[in-house]
């Protein structure tokens, strides 16, 4: 496994520049008012790579994933997402991204099936009854499709978030603390999703769990503790 450090402001290699599927950060700085969270950061994640972003609390792991998802904009530098050779800005590439984070919530007043159907429809997809049942079964929510999300435990909500993130088969997965609230089986499910996904696309995971660092092909340290 390759380990990189945030301080290295490396130029992207030719191979990284030419990749058909990639997330690229070039000289990216993100500041919140006066506080600089990420400084002059350059990195690329290309096909078949799973980049684990590690670092202490407040180091900017979630910020990095939000930047990649286009949920926030960099203060300086450029972020691009390449899908099938087309270079897009992150907000235009959301159709190709599956994102989960602790801040993201689903609709508590809707059932699990209603949530999945809604997110599929707004993405321009139609999921059949069998496909919905299969998706729920895959994330360990078989038989709970008609229950309101407000009645779910935190772990079950996390499982439903995973289902929503992968329902459109995105080539890019951005998982921020993906095993939050999950039991052993749930963590295994995340690992399985990421392992299968490695064959098809790219992924970034923000985590502090030593075990989850093993799931990546590369680890990117931000402010690595000495």
């Amino acid at each position: 496994m390759l380990e990189r450090a945030c301080e290295s402001n490396v130029m992207l290699s030719d191979e990284e520049q030419k990749a058909q599927l990639a997330i690229r950060f070039q000289s990216v700085t993100k500041r919140f008012e006066r506080r600089i969270v990420l400084r002059n950061l350059s990195l690329a994640v290309t096909e078949h790579q799973t980049l684990v972003v590690a670092g202490p609390n407040g180091s900017g792991k979630s910020t990095l994933l939000k930047l990649a998802a286009g949920l926030i904009r960099p203060s300086a530098g450029e972020i691009s997402i390449t899908v099938a050779g087309r270079r897009l800005n992150p907000s235009a590439a959301r159709f190709a991204i599956g994102y989960i984070s602790p801040e993201l919530a689903l609709y508590n007043e809707l059932t699990a099936v209603e949530n999945l159907t809604f997110f599929a429809t707004v993405r321009g997809l139609h999921l059949s009854h069998d496909e919905l049942a299969g998706l729920l079964s895959r994330v360990g929510l078989k038989g709970r499709g008609r229950d309101c999300v407000s009645d779910f435990s935190s772990g079950m909500r996390q499982r439903l978030k995973l289902a929503c993130a992968v329902l459109h088969h995105p080539p890019i997965l951005l998982f921020d603390e993906p095993t939050s609230y999950l039991d052993e089986e749930g963590a295994g499910l995340v690992q399985e999703i990421l392992e299968k996904h490695r064959l098809l696309g790219v992924a970034m995971i923000a985590t502090n769990e030593p075990r989850e660092r093993e799931w990546g092909t590369d680890v990117y340290w931000i402010n690595r503790p000495i």
């Binding site: 609709y107 997110f119 997809l125």
Partner: protein, 231 residues
């Protein structure tokens, strides 16, 4: 995975899904409807009792009606975006839905909610305050045009407010400068419908003005909303 009959992404179907989701959520939580009805009924009762002790001029009665509709609408319509931001579902929606579909879906939901408010409080207000109905069809057209424009403006102000991290209390303050011209035209047009001698084309011009304002707000919202939503 199947992708529907055409397999093509449709902005209309995404907007429709957002509208249906908001209606379903509203039926289950009744957040917006309850606050609107509570405000409307309370205001109507206070105004009704106050009017019973004296006879205010028709213009004052009309002003009271529009003020009630304005605050009732704003107290409820702000929820469409603020609720998404406060609960965290906004992130999921941003990741999945195109901004145009979000605006269209939310606008349609607010139009529906405004129609419910107008249908409930309009007739009650007219009955309680004893206003004349010289031109009932013209009156309905003015109220409809005014309510649509009010709703258009309320929707975009709600989006700005939600992204600014503001709460409902700021809604009136932010909306007031945008809605002042609309309220003035709406008041004048409503007053004209109470006078039987006013020619229809004079009222039609006022209705046209109200609708033009609403269309202008929609056009501006369509341009601005993707930037507001992506902040």
């Amino acid at each position: 995975m199947s992708t529907g009959s055409t397999g093509q992404f449709s902005l209309f179907s995404a907007a429709w899904a957002i509208l249906v989701k908001d209606i379903r959520s509203e039926f289950r939580t009744r957040v917006a409807l309850n606050s609107i009805l509570l405000f409307s009924v309370t205001t109507m009762l206070i105004v009704g009792f106050a009017a019973a002790s004296g006879e205010p001029p028709p213009m004052v009665k009309i002003a009271l009606f529009w003020v009630t509709l304005f605050f009732a609408a704003f107290s409820g319509l702000s929820h469409v975006f603020i609720h998404e931001t406060e609960t965290g579902s906004e992130i999921a929606l941003r990741m999945a839905a195109p901004p145009g579909a979000v605006l269209a879906g939310k606008l349609c939901f607010n139009l529906l909610l405004t129609a419910v408010i107008a249908v409930v409080i309009g007739p009650l207000f007219w009955l309680m305050l004893g206003l004349s109905m010289a031109r009932p069809f013209a009156l309905i057209a003015v109220l409809a045009a005014g309510a649509i424009s009010l709703c258009d403006a309320a929707t975009i102000v709600a989006a700005i407010l939600a992204k600014a991290g503001g709460k409902g209390a700021l809604f009136g303050a932010l909306g007031f400068p945008i809605l002042m011209p609309l309220m003035l035209v709406a008041l004048h047009a409503t007053r004209l419908t109470l006078i039987a001698e006013i020619p229809t084309d004079v009222i039609a011009i006022q209705i046209g003005g109200l609708l033009a304002y609403g269309i202008m707000i929609i056009a501006m919202s369509a341009i601005l909303f993707p930037f507001i939503w992506d902040q």
